[in-house]
């Protein structure tokens, strides 16, 4: 795996990255797709909740909170 490809949950706050691959399946995958998380989508990690999880991401102009379980199944490429 290339150096600059990481799981979305490890994306540092304030950084943006491009979606490379969704490994979730079934209903969760469909939910992610609905949010506009397809290959090539640019996302930004905005802020974490007080206890560190979930994290809010800027996805296509909307602020969406994802738990680390979901964000761990999304691979992104650092910009």
């Amino acid at each position: 795996m290339k150096e600059n490809i990481i799981a979305l949950k490890n994306l540092p706050i304030g950084r943006t990255a491009k979606i490379k691959y969704l490994s979730s399946v079934g209903a969760i995958r469909r939910r992610m797709l609905d949010l506009g998380l397809i290959s090539g989508t640019v996302v930004e990690a905005m802020h974490k909740s007080p206890s560190g999880d979930p994290t809010a991401y800027n996805i296509r102009g909307a602020v969406i909170a994802l738990r680390s379980e979901e964000a761990g199944k999304i691979l992104v490429e650092l910009n």
């Binding site: 296509r60 969406i64 909170a65």
Partner: protein
């Protein structure tokens, strides 16, 4: 939340939207849109029907209909659930899809958020894939302008091929244009030419293998291209709805089965496996949205969301997030407690003054004493007490709480607390349903529909009663003022102490919710937390005046209605129980005597337990029943001051421990009848209704038993 009839449980609507076309004359207009785009505001502005709106995702948990007239035509506006998609990932999306597709509305208005148009176009494109009769409403245009986001509606129209109207429903901007566009579409005066979404060549070939057969079978009653695509995608819920609509199983046609297989093989041979088809469909739609927005939307200020980011960096920060949340809650309680004193006194004087007048009239008319007893000392006094003590705190609490909701703060609460819910194997949105529970637990239970996973929805419904609803707040406030605030403090300081104890009680409710959720997840509702996605909508300027007027009016009417419906007959029953004597003492005394040992075990007494049991229809009447029971005459005393209440309770053996145990049991006991009935309706199961009854009661008994006996053991009372 919890401010309208709809959310206070007096009009609990069903799940399916069924419009009887024979009984209503007019065009049927579906109002769809993503959650939190001001859809309900559009609905209210058009119909004048006062449906409550809130700035958090998924507020419209049930459908609402309203009528309006335009150019001598009747329009029936159906507010369908807010969804991000029509691909039926949840019950709400299914309802939305089925309505747009199978109810065949005369027009579908898709309300979109101008500040976040690209994502909203996903739903627009999915809708125009089903029906041609679409009007796109680009709402919140003022907010977009403030953020220097420019939207070219002409270009949008050119690309989408359906009318596009920019609106700001709050200020009625653009609504005339919208009604006109809807009129033209619904009456067929304007034909649209919607953009056809075309997929990869392979997918198109597969669609063409199936489409002609669908057309033949359905006789053009339905969009054959869309149905073909969904059948290829093996969308089981769509197939079920389709068969219901057609009245037969479309899969009974061998020709269709054959060609579907052929089409799927074709897809496979060209490298599109079943699970990849959905990805391709979604990706295609998202790419088109992206492309359209690149053309029609421009950002004058790349930092348009800077203010929101700054606010969020405080309200959800590691250090301030949770303290700020608790402080906000405490401030609301303090304003409620401190502010309710004076109006409560005023109302009490007024209503009890009126009682004297009524008594004089009864005396003048020579009405027998027992009739006066039943009607005035029994029924009227209970009514007057409930209204004067319950109404002012509600009239202050609810506008304040709605203000937070309108600002968009509540999703941040869910965001801050999610990790705790995750650890309890529950859903983060449970925090939102708990917020609704502050208004009314029945509303909170209905609100649980925003949680997709059935297991987590049940947990949220069962534990909702651990949030004190408006019927219990005044009891908690009064008791904390007497036994905690009153004991050690006087004046303004007293309300601060009451505020503190109330905040602690609510916090305790939250902790118990989490603990019980965890226990349920490990026992009768085993399972892992499901996927969680939560939108944090932009902060919005609240409509202060509207909130105040609406919540006070709605609440007042509801409280008065419920007081008359429940408190009055309860007052009557208690009066009768206290005044009918069997074997030397009243029925009330007999019953209370029977319950007394149990009550004592829990730090209370028989009268209190009886009051909780009799208070099943509504929690508002628990304290009035206790007071009435203590009065020898079995009717309520007149008291304008909390000191009178204190004296009465203390002379009947109450200590601070009794006060605390009553407060705890008030927080932790069976839900009221309305809530139970709602749980029965929502879960369709007697078993879960009984569980919802038993779980909080058992928790309450355990907690009160431990507190009472520990205190006694250490000789604290």
């Amino acid at each position: 939340m919890g401010l309208t009839n709809q959310s206070t449980g007096s009009s609990l609507l069903g799940n399916n939207i069924v419009i009887d076309r024979t009984s209503c004359h007019g065009s049927i207009i579906a109002l769809s849109g993503n959650p939190n785009v001001g859809k309900s505001t559009v609905f209210n502005s058009l119909t004048g029907l006062n449906q409550h709106t809130g700035n958090w995702p998924g507020k419209t948990v049930t459908a609402c209909c309203g009528k309006y007239r335009y150019k001598n035509n009747n329009f029936i506006l159906v507010d369908i659930p807010g969804t991000y998609s029509l691909m039926a990932n949840s019950a709400e999306e299914e309802i939305a899809r089925d309505f747009v597709c199978f109810e065949n509305p005369d027009a579908t208005v898709v309300v979109t958020d101008a500040t976040c148009l690209e994502r909203n176009l996903n739903l627009v494109l999915q809708t125009i894939e089903i029906t041609k009769k679409v009007v796109v409403c680009v709402n919140l245009i003022d907010e977009a302008e403030r953020k220097k986001i420019r939207i070219d509606c002409k270009k949008l129209f050119d690309r989408l091929g359906v009318p596009v109207v920019a609106t700001n429903a709050r200020s009625r901007r653009g609504l005339d244009e919208l009604t006109d566009a809807v009129y033209n579409i619904a009456l067929g005066l304007v034909r649209t030419n919607p953009l056809e979404i075309r997929y990869d060549e392979t997918i198109e070939q597969a669609i063409e293998l199936v489409r002609p057969i669908i057309w033949e079978i359905t006789g053009g009653k339905i969009n054959d291209r869309w149905v073909s695509l969904k059948l290829l995608d093996e969308d089981a819920s769509m197939l079920e709805s389709l068969n219901k609509f057609l009245g037969f199983n479309i899969m009974d046609y061998p020709m269709l089965r054959q060609n579907l297989n052929k089409a799927r093989q074709h897809l496979e041979q060209n490298g599109i496996h079943p699970d990849q088809l959905r990805d391709r469909i979604v990706s295609r739609i998202i790419n088109i949205s992206e492309e359209i927005c690149r053309d029609a939307v421009s950002f004058g200020n790349k930092q348009y969301d800077l203010t929101d980011r700054k606010i969020d960096s405080i309200l959800t920060s590691k250090i301030f997030g949770i303290p700020v949340m608790l402080a906000l809650l405490a401030v609301i309680f303090w304003l409620t407690i401190a502010g309710a004193n004076y109006p409560s006194e005023l109302l009490a004087n007024l209503l009890f003054g009126f009682e004297d007048l009524l008594t004089d009239i009864f005396v003048a008319l020579n009405v027998p004493g027992w009739i006066h007893g039943v009607l005035i000392t029994g029924t009227y006094r209970t009514l007057a007490w409930v209204v004067s003590v319950m109404l002012p705190p509600m009239a202050i609490f609810f506008p304040l709480f709605t203000l937070l909701e309108d600002l968009g703060y509540l999703p941040r609460v869910a965001f801050n607390l999610d990790n705790f819910f995750k650890k309890a194997c529950a859903h983060g949105k449970q925090a939102l349903t708990m917020c609704m529970g502050f208004g009314c637990n029945a509303a909170g239970v209905i609100g649980c529909r925003i949680i997709d996973s059935p297991r987590e929805r049940l947990i949220a419904a069962i534990t909702n009663t651990f949030v004190p609803c408006n019927g219990r707040f005044p009891t908690l406030i009064a008791l904390s003022a007497i036994f905690i605030g009153g004991g050690i403090a006087k004046g303004a300081f007293r309300s601060l102490v009451s505020t503190f104890s109330l905040t602690v009680i609510v916090l305790l409710g939250i902790i118990i919710t989490l603990v019980v959720s965890k226990i349920l997840s490990k026992t009768i509702l085993k399972g892992l937390p499901s996927a969680f996605t939560l939108e944090l909508p932009p902060y919005r300027k609240p409509q202060v005046v509207r909130i105040i007027v609406r919540s006070i009016l709605d609440r007042t009417i509801f409280v008065l209605g419920r007081a008359i419906a429940v408190a009055a007959p309860a007052g009557l029953i208690i009066w009768v129980m206290a005044n009918v004597h069997v074997g030397g003492s009243s029925i009330l005394t007999h019953t209370a005597g029977f319950l007394d040992p149990f009550g004592k075990l829990l730090g209370m007494d028989g009268y209190i337990i009886l009051a909780f049991v009799l208070g099943l229809p509504a929690n508002e009447i628990v304290l009035p029943i206790i007071i009435m029971s203590y009065m020898a005459s079995g009717s309520l005393i007149e008291f304008s001051e909390i000191e009178h209440l204190r004296q009465l309770l203390v002379s009947n053996g109450w200590t601070w421990l009794t006060g605390i145990c009553v407060m705890l049991f008030s927080l932790l006991h069976f839900p009221c009848a309305t809530t139970l009935w709602t749980i029965r309706k929502e879960t369709q199961s007697m078993k879960w209704t009984l569980v919802s009854f038993a779980v909080p009661t058992i928790v309450g008994i355990i907690v009160c038993f431990i507190i009472a006996n520990t205190a006694r053991l250490f000789g604290l009372v």
